[in-house]
Symmetry: C2
Subunit: 109 residues, 2 copies
């Protein structure tokens, strides 16, 4: 779902944020990119278990939602770097709140 589609379907602005970060690997991708630009391979290694197809898919969605930049270096072998846009950076407080909330839940057990 693109950001534009989200806006149309959402009955509440909060749902826009939800739809953008919703995806099996998106929070983990964001987490990686908060610490700096990463190559495709670095991401794949960090997100153990993700397949190439799915990682590509999730990255493309984040890209079309304006959250990340994709930079291709026309070399052999190919090199592609991913980084956060300003919009992507602006998600950091949100993920931190979510993180803290999750931590507190875990503690109760």
């Amino acid at each position: 779902m693109t950001q534009q589609e989200s806006k149309i379907l959402s009955k509440c602005p909060a749902e826009i944020a939800l739809k953008i970060i919703n995806g099996r690997w998106k929070l983990l991708i964001l987490k990686e990119l908060f610490s700096g630009t990463k190559r495709f391979n670095e991401l794949q290694r960090a997100l153990s278990g993700v397949t190439q197809k799915v990682l590509t898919q999730q990255l493309r969605e984040l890209e079309s939602d304006g959250i990340i930049n994709r930079t291709v270096y026309p070399e052999i072998p190919p090199k592609v770097e991913y980084s956060l846009t300003a919009l992507g950076d602006s998600l950091k407080p949100l993920t931190e709140v979510m993180h803290d909330w999750g931590i507190n839940q875990t503690k109760q057990f």
Copy 2:
């Protein structure tokens, strides 16, 4: 997905929060309950478009995740009230951050 299952599958605490609020109507249900206890019917009217089955489903999930209380009054006709637990209340800051983020995105167009 229950909260317990979420914890097992999550590789990051933030994902726990995500999974709990993830659902077609959950943010909207929370929004309603932030303003106080509501009856089933009130919720259904507020969330225009939701079917009884789905609303029941989403409420049950929130209940089993410890986010809301379900109180049954054994009357005729039946009366069931839903309210937030302390844990549910603790989600308010999170939803506010999401809301504000969504608002800002909307403004750009």
